[in-house]
């Protein structure tokens, strides 16, 4: 992140006159399709899904191939078993399932005579304290880019002392998901209020900003942190597939998490 900022400031101030960006043709191999599992369970009733699909060729315009007809079930520490039904092609849900704090969930999938398993833990249910919207500190100011106004949205929440906590955040503007992956751990903030800032968010007067905060386990943090580096930052010293917690011949991630969300209406006068 620091490096990105650094390159950015350097490029704009010194070398902008000679650098250029363009789309190029790069020949890429077509890897054999691989099973991809993405599973998300939350403490909100019915807010869960298990998606099963396959990787596709990089330049392919077609939708990823879904894996249909799989048997998907989730069990918890108390021995409850929940069946997830295919609601549409490759997406499996349970409308009544609700994850609990301090529990452990086990995923079991059978498909085409293959099985895939994974587990994920939940911790204390973290809540958002407040959301603040202010002028961007770094990068484009309000009005600088594409004639849109850009702001910094900071989400404040309080960490639990003496527990290793991992968080993931998502941000929506007027209900529309803002792409990117945003994670943080409590390494430097154990027991303190964490100010998580989304920089460079384009807003207009009256927009509704919603932030979702998920309390995740370490394996999920490692997975999403790597996605953050690959997708948001665009670089990593060793690009590769994020470390998967799926057991079986598949990539992807399975996670159970706490979920809290908060809305804030942006008032340009404030």
């Amino acid at each position: 992140m620091k490096t990105k900022f650094y390159i950015y400031i350097l490029l704009i101030s010194a070398f902008a006159f000679s650098s250029c960006e363009k789309v190029i043709d790069v020949n890429l191999n077509d890897a054999d399709p691989r099973v991809v599992i993405e599973g998300k369970l939350t403490t909100e009733e019915g807010n869960n899904y298990i998606s099963i699909s396959k990787t596709s060729n990089f330049y392919s315009d077609e939708l990823p191939v879904s894996i249909t007809g799989a048997e998907v079930e989730v069990s918890d520490l108390d021995g409850n078993v929940f069946i997830f039904d295919e609601v549409y092609s490759g997406i499996y849900r349970n409308n009544t399932f609700t994850a609990k704090s301090y529990n452990k969930y086990k995923l079991h999938i059978s498909s085409d005579n293959k099985t895939y398993e994974s587990t994920s833990e939940t911790f204390y249910p973290v809540k958002i304290d407040s959301i603040a919207i202010e002028e961007n500190n770094f990068g484009p100011k309000g009005g600088n880019k594409d004639d849109e106004l850009h702001y910094k949205v900071t989400c404040y929440f309080t960490d639990k002392l003496n527990e290793d906590n991992f968080y993931r955040l998502r941000i929506f503007i007027n209900g529309e998901f803002v792409s990117g992956f945003f994670c943080i751990n409590d390494n430097f903030f154990d027991g303190k209020t964490i100010p998580y800032a989304f920089g460079n968010i384009s807003l207009e007067d009256g927009d509704v900003v919603m932030v979702e905060l998920l309390g995740i386990d370490e394996a999920n943090y490692d997975y999403f942190y790597m996605l953050q580096q690959l997708v948001n930052d665009g670089e990593n010293i060793t690009p590769g597939n994020p470390p998967s917690n799926i057991i079986g011949d598949a990539i992807g991630v399975f996670g159970a998490s706490s979920l809290d969300r908060m809305n804030k209406v942006f008032n340009i006068e404030e």
Binding site: R34, T55, P64, P239
Partner: protein
């Protein structure tokens, strides 16, 4: 291996036992105009054509011969040759002052060395450059840079577009030991690597050992770049400087006591940020973006046998955005050195050296924190050159370095963030070496030596041991100075030079070397936040064996030089990262590392024209550099990032007139090996690249041409002479020149990065986006001296 040691030892003993009634001629050789010691001056004897030596790095020479009358010939390209008759019936001191030869200077000399240096020198796999080599070669922003010019030689490759970092013979960037007046420089680049920290105004000489390090050097596998600062003019006071589009520099030098001591002060500062002051945006006005370098050196000759030197380097990059963000980093080195002559045959060099690299980031936004990291060394070096007789020159000495590593620290002033400290690490690197350069026959010279190193990791600290999968197996606490783990390593060095005839020679070398420090990078590009990690209970020393052999030939009365070298290198215990490793502020960084092997091999060609109106060289390298790790690519050999198969460069300077030089360079190399995706999938509806192997793809090939023009202003004027009544040509004291250059003449868009993303214009599809940095960069600079 033991057999080799025994053989070496017996050769050594044989060498010592050769004794005869001899006397010694010794002294120092320097430039008659400014007193700078001249390194590598050739001393030949007319009566004994096969005897010959050259001055050491302090301009000192010593030669022992039987009683008799001899004609000594002191020659150095670019200087007038001095012939001196000496009758040897006792030990004689002969200090020589060589005068610059204005005739050859007009022709510009590509290397101020003896004309057949290429053939007779005992160095194998060595590239040396003097500042004059750098002067006319066009570079990015017109900022003369010895580290960029050296990349145009075979076997040396730039780390990236416009980058001062380099790879030598397939080695990684952290396998280069860069020393400035004996002091290691841990981060030799400014501003993301686009400039090196070496201000060419303050540099006298650069020597790059491409893996064939003599025994006095150790600690890195791929190369040693030994940079010597100028001593300063001990005859008269002088000023020189330059104004460029990126930076300005000024050098002052002069005698402290005439002919006995001198000083030099050289400074450079960039001023890109000064333009930002013109901005209408208040925060941009307060943006800081600059670097500076300050080189200081003084020396004093107490008497014929004692001389002291003091040298220092201070450089820093400073970045800041308003008062919200500050980021600065830099190196400091200091050397105190004492040259002492015990007797005409025994030259001693004692140094105390301090090196420091650190960075600091200050954030004053939602939280107020200072983030910092540092590495610093205390270093003692005792070196002896013993000129036993005309056949044997011994070098021996010891070197002790105490390293302190402070990998990272976070200080919060407002208690909103927990203070955080990565434990400091301490280690002691102690070495002793002995080597001899021995003339066996008239046409065969052997260099052989041994270097022993003990590397000890010291407490205090809480030391965790990690297993192969990166899981902890034990945790132990150590007290201050308590050894945690100790490694003893013995590195043999061997080289030969066989002179076939006066026009051609064959040279070969075998070198074992060890590396005890490893750079951990948190980015694909060189950044100030790269940290160094010492060998520890988890990290073993890296070990390299390099074999090389070369053929050297000169043509047309030494005007043309040709050389070709073949090398093969095998390295054990190299470091790579686990996929997705997190390297910044990770207390368990050692659990993110993988250990494997590397190999590199290749053939290098160099054809060089050293004199005449047209000078320059053509170099080509065909090479591979590969790695092998259990955990990567199913334990098969894969390309290292710096595996550039073809590497080609042309450097040419043409003197249109005595005042006007036109120069050009063209480089071409195979793109770096990189990891690109071979598929994709979606997470939360967002495209994620799917990877199947490490470094399985190539960046596009790189090529670029630069041109430059250097125009010297008239260095004479006409003055009316009242005695003769005629106008006379008089030399001006004030000299100046203009330099114009254009980087990337034909605007090749060389890929700096390629990223894979969802198309913005055509949603749902994916594309590869290339960023190219430098497309046509013109520059102009003005240089002066008086």
């Amino acid at each position: 291996m033991n057999k080799i040691h025994i053989i070496l030892l017996s050769i050594l003993l044989a060498a010592v036992s050769i004794q005869a009634q001899v006397y010694t001629v010794s002294g120092s050789i320097n430039d008659a105009s400014d007193g700078e010691d001249l390194i590598g001056v050739n001393i030949a004897i007319k009566e004994s054509p096969t005897t010959g030596i050259s001055t050491n790095t302090f301009g000192f020479y010593s030669l022992s011969l039987k009683k008799g009358e001899y004609t000594f010939i002191f020659s150095y390209l670019g200087y007038k040759t001095i012939t001196k008759k000496i009758f040897l019936d006792r030990d004689i001191k002969a200090n020589i002052h060589l005068e610059k030869d204005s005739q050859t200077l007009l022709e510009v000399v590509v290397s101020a060395k003896r004309s057949d240096e290429n053939i007779v020198s005992t160095d194998v796999g060595v590239s040396s450059l003097s500042v004059s080599d750098v002067e006319t070669v066009p570079v990015l922003f017109g900022e003369k840079d010895i580290m960029k010019t050296i990349q145009l030689l075979p076997g040396v490759k730039p780390a990236g577009d416009g980058n001062a970092g380099f790879y030598v013979r397939g080695g990684a960037a952290d396998q280069n030991l860069i020393i400035l007046d004996g002091a290691p420089v841990y981060n030799a680049s400014h501003l993301m690597g686009f400039f090196s920290v070496f201000n060419s105004s303050a540099i006298k000489d650069v020597k790059l050992y491409k893996g064939n390090m003599p025994a006095e050097y150790g600690g890195r596998l791929a190369s040693v770049m030994d940079i010597k600062m100028k001593d300063g003019n001990n005859k008269e006071f002088g000023v020189d400087g330059g104004l460029g589009i990126i930076s300005s520099k000024l050098t002052l030098q002069g005698p402290i006591v005439k002919d006995k001591g001198s000083f030099i002060v050289s400074g450079r500062r960039t001023y890109a940020d000064l333009f930002l002051k013109l901005s209408s945006n208040e925060k941009q006005q307060n943006t800081k973006l600059y670097f500076y370098d300050l080189n200081l050196k003084a020396n004093y000759k107490i008497n014929e046998n004692n001389r002291i030197f003091l040298s220092g380097y201070f450089g820093r990059d400073v970045l800041g955005y308003s008062d919200l963000f500050g980021f600065d980093w830099g190196n400091t080195t200091a050397t105190i050195r004492w040259n002492h002559l015990f007797n005409p045959k025994l030259f001693s060099n004692t140094s105390f050296i301090y090196s420091d690299y650190n960075y600091k980031i200050s954030v004053n936004s939602d939280v107020d924190v200072d983030i910092s990291s540092r590495i610093h060394d205390w270093n003692f070096k005792q070196e002896f050159d013993y000129f036993l007789n005309e056949f044997n020159t011994f070098k021996f000495g010891v070197n002790v370095i105490h390293h302190t590593f402070m990998p990272g620290e976070i200080d919060s002033s407002d208690d909103k963030v927990n203070d955080f400290l990565l434990e400091h690490k301490y280690s002691l690197e102690s070495s002793a070496y002995l080597s001899n350069t021995q003339k066996i026959f008239n046409n065969l010279t052997l260099s052989y030596g041994l270097r022993f190193t003990n590397f000890t990791q010291l407490g205090p600290g809480t030391i965790t041991t990690w297993d192969e999968k990166g899981n902890p197996t034990s945790v132990d606490v150590y007290d201050k100075w308590e050894p945690v783990v100790s490694y003893n390593r013995l590195a043999p060095r061997f080289a030969f030079t066989y002179i076939i005839d006066e026009k051609q020679s064959v040279k070969g070398a075998y070198v074992r070397s060890y590396q005890f420090l490893h750079m951990i990078s948190n980015s694909t590009t060189a950044t100030p936040t790269d940290i160094w990690l010492p060998t520890s209970n988890n990290i073993k020393p890296s070990e390299s064996d390099q074999y090389s052999i070369g053929y050297f030939r000169n043509f047309n009365e030494n005007k043309w030089e040709f050389s070709s070298e073949v090398y093969y290198k095998y390295v054990k215990n190299v470091i790579d990262y686990r996929t997705g490793a997190s390297t910044s502020f990770n207390a368990n960084i050692e659990s993110e590392l993988l250990y494997g092997d590397a190999r590199a091999y290749g053939i290098e060609f160099l054809l060089k024209k050293r004199t005449g109106k047209l000078t320059g060289w053509v170099s080509y390298t065909l090479s591979r550099s590969e790695k092998l790790f259990d955990e990567i690519n199913n334990n098969t050999w894969f390309s290292a990032k710096q595996d550039r198969i073809h590497d080609f460069s042309i450097v040419a300077s043409y003197h249109l007139s005595p005042r006007l030089v036109v120069s050009g360079t063209w480089v071409y190399y195979t793109g770096n090996a990189v990891t690109f995706p071979s598929g994709k999938y979606k997470v939360e509806g967002q495209m994620i690249p799917y990877y199947t192997e490490r470094n399985g793809y190539r960046m596009p090939d790189y090529h670029r041409m630069d041109i430059g023009v250097t125009l010297d202003n008239k260095n004479y004027k006409y003055e009316f002479n009242s005695k003769t009544g005629e106008k006379e040509k008089v030399k001006r004291r004030f000299k100046s020149s203009w330099n114009f250059s254009l980087y990337n003449v034909y605007g090749r868009e060389n890929a700096y990065t390629i990223t894979f993303q969802e198309s913005e214009t055509n949603p749902g599809t994916t594309e590869a986006m290339q960023l190219a940095l430098f497309k046509f960069v013109p520059s102009i600079s003005y240089n002066f001296s008086f």
